[in-house]
């Protein structure tokens, strides 16, 4: 909570012309933004590009941010999520036109091995993956997730519910039951 207030104060300072405040925002929010995008895409270079583009957009539209409408963290996550979806859609189009351009996946899924949490998250449909990542790893309440993903709160709830069910299934029924006892 204190961290959120700190970020918001830094943003206000930046809006008032303090360029050093932007560095502070970057230091505070870069790790969470990067980890969200990396867990979603599993692509290091793409994640770096999106974090950088997010901060370029923040600088360009710094006066559009209003602390009354929500936290800076949600605002930045919203920008990053939009950029990521646009880039991924563009990439899909290119791959359908030129399939040999697709990058090599560094970690292929090994079906013979027991599935790991990384693979289980990667196998989730995109619409559910974002909700789980924001809720669990970034401690966002459902209202904020709804804002970031631009969907109703009820949809966030149902996506979370289905995603958790799928994760349990993917992580293996037997092992899961044994672990939760």
């Amino acid at each position: 909570m204190i961290l959120n207030e700190c970020e918001d104060q830094l943003m206000i300072a930046y809006q008032n012309g303090d360029e050093e405040a932007l560095k502070g925002i970057y230091i505070l929010l870069k790790p969470s933004l990067y980890s969200f995008i990396f867990r979603y895409t599993r692509d290091e270079q793409l994640s770096i590009d999106i974090v950088q583009d997010t901060f370029v957009k923040l600088q360009r539209y710094k006066h559009k941010y209003n602390p009354r409408n929500g936290k800076l963290k949600s605002y930045l996550f919203q920008i990053a999520y939009r950029l990521m979806i646009t880039k991924l859609n563009r990439r899909k189009k290119w791959r359908s036109l030129l399939p040999f351009l697709s990058p090599i996946q560094s970690e292929e899924l090994h079906h013979s091995d027991r599935i790991t949490i990384r693979e289980a998250i990667a196998k989730l449909p995109e619409i559910q993956r974002a909700a789980v990542l924001l809720f669990y790893y970034h401690d966002m309440p459902q209202e904020e997730i709804a804002k970031v993903l631009e969907i109703p709160k009820g949809t966030v709830k149902s996506r979370l519910h289905i995603a958790i069910k799928r994760l349990k299934e993917e992580l293996g029924g037997d092992e899961y039951e044994a672990g939760s006892l």
């Binding site: 932007l22 560095k23 970057y26 870069k30 790790p31 990067y34 980890s35 990396f38 867990r39 290091e44 270079q45 770096i48 590009d49 974090v51 950088q52 901060f55 370029v56 399939p99 040999f100 351009l101 697709s102 990058p103 090599i104 790991t116 949490i117 990384r118 289980a120 998250i121 809720f135 669990y136 790893y137 309440p141 459902q142 709830k157 979370l160 519910h161 958790i164 994760l167 349990k168 992580l171 899961y176 672990g179 939760s180």
Partner: protein, 81 residues
Amino acid sequence: MRQDPFNKDHHLCTKLDEYHVDIPDFPMKASRWERFVNFLTSPAKDPLESLISTADGVMLLKVAPIIGTVAWAFIQAFLFL
């Protein structure tokens, strides 16, 4: 009050906690040139991979240039002779 759908799911939470991400060191801004270089140097799939994996495919790769050259020679012969 916040409803936590992960509540009581200790096993799932333990599994989710295992997923750590190493944050690389990178600047706030990257130049267009750097991005272009990263794009060029990123590893991509080999378009001939499916051919290399079979003996017939390898043979086809060896024979295709010869057939192509012969075909091109014939085309030139018909056009200029």
